[in-house]
């Protein structure tokens, strides 16, 4: 499903990703863990197509489609979704307008008809219900004045509405207390499906108690240095990243 080969990425002229390779098959959830500065967010932003992340070599494809040559909106149309670490506030744009514009843009890019107002509202209401989110949240401007938990739930709501093929969750646990974390994780788990892949980026093992990964990768100095099962996350929690990094230096 998602295949990354020997990816090298510069930010501000500095190399951050240094030959990263990774494959996530459909139906699997992979976690990427790593110390601060290892390149976790750079990987997320590079895959989503943010300006300023310069791919110097390597490849990334989703279902065989070359992601790196596409604009961010084209990647979304292919089915990629990035849940932001810091969801952006957009004053003056109601959440409802935002999700409607996004859904219809993605549909248009796929050659599908726009949703009618009624079908759109039906879809939104059913997702809100599943995620136990009050409709009032969509009447407010996007993320403006939202608590950390509300922002992350809003990300999961958008994810549920856009029904992407592949989800990247960038530090979705940051800024959340344990209750909010559970709610967000439940939302993510509800979206696990045999045809959908997920990449969960996190610094802490805590999130992985709630979103159980099929595989755990350790990212350090811009590439994957270890891969294991869920037990690897527990090991890192216990021993820290010191051992992994020491092994790297040796």
């Amino acid at each position: 499903m998602l295949e990354i080969k020997d990816l090298h990425v510069d930010v501000d002229g500095k190399q951050i990703l240094n030959g990263l390779s990774l494959t996530v098959p459909a139906g699997e959830v992979h976690a990427i863990m790593g110390p601060n500065g290892s390149g976790k967010s750079t990987l997320a932003y590079t895959l989503a197509g943010r300006d300023g992340y310069e791919v110097t070599s390597g490849a990334a494809t989703l279902m065989g489609e070359d992601l790196l040559g596409l604009d961010p909106e084209e990647r979304a149309a292919v089915g990629l979704f990035l849940a932001f670490q810091y969801p952006v506030e957009i004053p003056g744009v109601a959440g409802m307008t935002f999700v409607k514009t996004a859904i219809n843009a993605v549909r248009a890019a796929r050659g599908e008809k726009e949703l009618s107002a009624i079908d759109f509202l039906k879809l939104v209401r059913s997702r809100l219900k599943e995620l136990d989110i009050d409709e009032a949240m969509l009447k407010r401007p996007v993320n403006v004045g939202f608590s950390g938990g509300e922002k992350k739930r809003n990300e999961v709501l958008q994810m549920a509405l856009l029904e992407p093929k592949f989800c990247i969750l960038d530090e979705t646990d940051s800024g959340l207390d344990i209750d909010a974390l559970k709610v967000v994780a439940d939302g993510v788990n509800a979206l696990r499906a045999p045809e959908r892949g997920m990449l969960v980026i996190t610094h802490y093992q805590r999130l992985l108690d709630y979103i159980r990964p099929d595989k755990v990768h350790v990212l350090a100095k811009g590439r994957i240095v270890r891969t294991g099962g869920p037990e690897l996350a527990l090991e890192l929690e216990e021993k820290g990243y010191g051992d992994v990094l020491a092994g790297l230096a040796a």
Binding site: A48, G49, R50, D51, D71, P72, E73, R75, A76, A77, L82, F84, P87, V88, E89, I90, P91, G92, V93, A94, M96, T97, F98, K100, T101, A102, I103, A105, V106, A109, A117, P141, Q158, L162
Partner: protein
């Protein structure tokens, strides 16, 4: 030393001065004072501090003619649909009231032709009972006006229906000008919602020079919106003088999208304790448009409040001007005055000139001002694009949000919705329901 040159534009505008027979003496005096002031000052140019960024010198060469008395015929289908549900509508064509296009049912007692009300004490007090203003275009309006509305809502009453005042420009072959004048008095505890709409065609030069006097009495509330969408070759000037009594609210929003040159100026005096004003606005301009929003707020009593937020999206070679002057009198303790001017510069040629002035003579006050100018927010743009919204649509949505955010402060929800719908229409967006 050379003799002082003749005031700019006097020759061009003197023929428009009027002195109709049968007007009450106070009005004749008011016109004379206006004529004298304009004859002395002429058209403002950027030699004057108050007009530093907006010169009216080009008006002297434009050869505007006063149009015929009476509104020219206009097909009612040329009128836009109502922006406010259930609103009454007063229509002016080329500055003249068009009774046949208007619907003032139920408001006949409150809304009347200005000249018809001229014999009444309240109008005289409102217009002539205050210190004269030096503003030259207001003076020209006083000397030249021949039509407009006088609106009075008695003690404790509501206007009954929201009112839209639609000024339609239907310019001809030669450049035309008109000088409509309005008066609005809300007596103690009264309330009204009034939306001015200014529309004009894509072609044809004209000058609309508005003058207005407004009084918001004790505990009264006026929600006053303005959608300025004049024609591409139109020039729009408006000077509004407002006084607010104890506990009253003057809530104003101006949306500027039209006219090649415009200036919307307000002078608000907060005269009673606890009086409040909100002067907010948004503008979206491009090409070579020039849009000036100028205000002066005098805090004259304790516990008065003013809020100003202006947001502008300036594209191509357009130029925005914001001048905000707040004066806090020695007696106006516990004043709360805030002012913010934010501009999005959407191209290299776009320009914003911002001039805030705070003059504070009281010691226990909270006052602030701020100005920002910059590019469209790259994070917001990326967030939208990452959700699948194409770059151009994302850009429009971010601009929309930037402008609509300024309308958040409007106290009257129907007016806020009308403003937001007008912003969406300008940007070619659908308004979410």
């Amino acid at each position: 030393m050379a003799a002082r040159a003749e005031p700019i534009g006097l020759k061009a505008f003197e023929p428009a001065f009027r002195a109709p027979a049968g007007e009450p003496a106070w009005l004749a005096d008011f016109r004379k004072a206006g004529a004298a002031r304009f004859a002395e000052a002429g058209l403002p140019t950027n030699r004057e501090e108050a007009w530093k960024y907006t010169s009216l010198r080009p008006l002297a060469r434009a050869k505007y003619e006063a149009g015929a008395m009476g509104a020219p015929a206009l097909d009612p289908s040329a009128l836009p649909p109502l922006a406010l549900d259930g609103a009454a509508r007063a229509v002016f064509v080329n500055g003249r009231f068009a009774a046949g296009l208007s619907d003032l049912e139920g408001l006949e007692a409150a809304v009347r032709p200005w000249t018809e009300a001229a014999n009444e004490a309240w109008l005289r007090d409102l217009v002539a009972g205050r210190a004269p203003t030096e503003q030259a275009m207001y003076a020209l309006n006083a000397a030249a006006f021949d039509d407009g509305l006088a609106i009075r809502v008695p003690d404790g009453a509501s206007l009954g229906r929201p009112l839209e005042i639609v000024y339609v420009a239907a310019p001809g072959e030669r450049p035309l000008m008109w000088h409509p004048r309005s008066a609005i008095a809300l007596e103690a505890g009264a309330s009204a919602t009034i939306l001015e709409r200014h529309i004009g065609p894509g072609e044809g030069a004209y000058l609309a020079n508005h003058g207005a006097d407004i009084r918001v009495g004790e505990g009264a509330r006026l929600a006053h919106g303005k959608l300025q969408a004049e024609g591409a070759e139109g020039r729009h000037l408006a000077m509004t003088r407002v006084s607010v009594g104890e506990g009253g609210l003057y809530d104003n929003f101006v949306l500027t999208t039209g006219a090649s040159l415009s200036r919307s100026e307000a002078a608000v005096r907060l005269e009673g304790a606890g009086a409040e004003t909100r002067l907010n606005g948004a503008y979206a301009i491009a090409g070579r448009q020039h849009a000036d929003h100028t205000s002066r707020i005098d805090h004259l009593a304790p516990g008065t409040t003013s809020r100003q937020v202006y947001a502008g999206a300036i594209d191509e070679q357009a130029r925005g001007v914001f001048q905000g002057h707040i004066v806090v009198d020695r007696l106006a303790q516990q004043t709360d005055g805030h002012q913010l001017n934010r501009a999005l510069l959407l191209s290299d040629g776009a320009e914003i000139d911002s001039k805030p002035i705070l003059e504070i003579y009281a010691d226990d006050v909270k006052c602030s001002h701020g100005a920002t100018a910059g590019d469209i927010d790259a994070d917001q743009l990326f967030y939208l694009r990452a959700r699948g919204v194409p770059a151009e649509a994302a850009r429009r949505l971010v601009v929309r949000g930037f402008l609509a955010d300024a309308a958040d402060g409007l106290s009257e929800p129907s007016l806020r919705d009308a403003v937001v719908a007008a912003i969406d229409a300008t940007l070619g967006l659908e308004t979410a329901t």
